[in-house]
Symmetry: C3
Subunit: 283 residues, 3 copies
């Protein structure tokens, strides 16, 4: 199955807006989604599929990783989405509201039967059941990535979304852990208030601290924020280099726990510093 | 089994205080509890049972949903509580410190044998084991609702209760999720500082955001706060109506992701808006 | 197996620093660790083992509970650590990065074969898998205590450690719950910024509220902070005594839910008060 390179930003555009879709390749996102689900109304599903199939190749032409979000597997639209909306230009298919292993098996079969055996699934974990069973769901062999959908999750919980995100902290943490256990990258929730850059940056930093590799973006303006937030800052890289130099010198001399700028540093912090440098050195 | 209508507020009164019990129907609570457990001392359990049996019918006369809290199933009082404290006037029985499916089976058998086959259980999830296994416990066929008991949970954890509630955030979230998975309404922890309305309102808003439908009340003054907090505010309803009007208009025109007052709105947010309006329109 | 008395503070010293190890007994810690893992570099593992074996008896001479941290079971160092670094002077062995029951079984067998059948394991829960399976891991019969290692956990999650600890709140809560379910005491994460007493005190209070019995200490200066933080304060004890007196008086008179200084007090709060007094009365 095809795998993603980077996934700091995953930008959505409605399949029913060919003008927005056409510009997806120019937004600088690591990957993009042509959305046949929530952003495509029930009365325009066929139009959305046709647009997705017609436009994905152009968007992918400059190397952008392109995906299509189909409707959830239990809906009446899913079968037609798989048949009509997907092409060889895609890196993966986004499947929302993943809840059961049987559902994932049916998704895999449908993709295989439609000749898309190379397409893995970005699994949307965004219901109570999906969150509760995320550990096994994200470990399904067809899943190549996952995302946590806070808006749908809280709608399913009959709760209320708040800017502080306390109501999704447990679920968001559980999905990050499940992603790590499954060995697949996971993406953090959207920020619907698309002009609130402060909130986006804050959430992105939170998400990175929890182990998320990137963030869903519902507006092009969020893409540079995500791309910036999910790599180490220059200060972090500088500090990591200094830390490793001090640690390696001490280790060579037989000492593996050192006082580095007021912090006790030993192997776990050295491991984190090595990862920061590896991320920063990435082309 | 009998089911609850609303459960925004569940007001407790000690079974040994017939004066308090007699007034339960006048407090405006969605449901009330005559408490034979924590609020009834060990040396007055028989008196508590007699009061509960004698007074429940009067309290229920104006339509108030009445329950009795018995002592936990493993205690020496449980059998007598079931035999002597319950009457046909009750909507359900509150059973504290639910920890195992076998325990719930024994509760169900005891209720059936005492002729209370129509009574479901409000399951108290308030121990380490109860929280850890809440998903299966709340899905027991006899359970019609649940509550999270923070004071008992932290006593069992040998922890310390704090006003910030960070020490119970994980457990409180897990119980909300378990309730949703089981399809039963769950009620949030008490506020012991019964004069602290600010804290009560704050916790109620938190709880609603997490998916709780109401709050345990240990003082009549908390009832109106709970009744108010667990329904959408007028502002929320206004916004939901405007949002849905804009969304429905756009959808009819083939667009399902719109900029509504600076927020990207698509199906998940529309779903939340529909639920807000449904709650507000409820008689 | 040997059991710990108190575990408010568990102080680490590198096995390759015999000067630090020699002073471990004088630091006032409830228990100490001679660390052959992270604080001992790869090129000095043999030296670390020899020091641990040679010095543990001296440290234990004044009654200090002494442990050795070996390298994780899957590493090439583990077998030699068990053979060469452990002595009869130890109360337990600290095994980091516990992830599977099979791994714990191998640890137990290795200890038995080396003649250390009396040594239980302090299990380090500090990876994604360890956290996810902490409930069963800490319940392994060989485990006598556990700790949550935030630095290693976040390194494994590819996340970022922050002073606010939001990124570890879920895992930290899960480990506290797992410890309670298993009936073993659990210790909270280190504070690497060893001069930041405010943070240490804050984290210790948080940890105690969650049910942790103590804290890992990576600097002698942290020991008195931990010893102080994990026992009730004089104010807490005073309040608990007053509360219990009022509660017991009321209960004897047939009332078990009272207004105590503005708080509704019944059995759960009385239970907490009794525990506070028991902790304070401990010699």
């Amino acid at each position: 199955m095809r795998q993603f390179t980077r996934l700091r930003s995953l930008l959505f555009a409605p399949a029913v807006r060919p003008d927005f879709v056409a510009k997806l390749a120019d937004r600088g996102a690591d990957a993009v989604v042509i959305d046949c689900e929530d952003a495509t109304p029930a009365n325009a599903k066929a139009e959305g599929r046709a647009n997705a199939a017609a436009l994905a190749g152009d968007v992918a032409a400059n190397g952008t990783q392109v995906t299509v979000r189909v409707n959830a597997e239990p809906t009446k639209w899913f079968a037609d989405d798989v048949r009509d909306a997907l092409t060889g230009a895609l890196t993966a298919v986004v499947v929302p509201k993943i809840e059961t292993m049987a559902g994932l098996d049916r998704v895999a079969s449908a993709l295989d039967e439609a000749g898309h055996g190379q397409l893995g699934v970005i699994a949307g974990i965004e219901t109570a059941l999906g969150v509760a069973d995320a550990r096994v769901l994200l470990a399904h062999t067809r899943v190549v990535a996952g995302y946590f959908g806070a808006e749908d999750f809280i709608a399913d919980m009959a709760g209320v979304r708040t800017p502080g995100n306390a109501e999704v902290h447990y679920a968001r943490s559980a999905v990050a852990l499940a992603g790590r256990l499954a060995g697949v990258p996971v993406l953090d929730q959207i920020v619907a208030d698309f002009r609130d850059d402060v909130r986006f940056r804050h959430e992105a930093a939170e998400a990175r601290s929890m182990g998320y590799v990137g963030k869903l973006c519902i507006h092009p303006g969020q893409v540079p924020l995500a791309n910036d937030a999910f790599v180490p800052s220059a200060d972090e890289v500088d500090r990591a280099r200094r830390l490793l130099e001090a640690y390696d010198t001490a280790s060579a001399g037989g000492v593996a726990a050192i006082d580095f700028e007021g912090q006790m540093v030993d192997e776990p912090l050295a491991t984190q510093a090595r990862r920061i440098i590896a991320l920063a050195d990435r082309p």
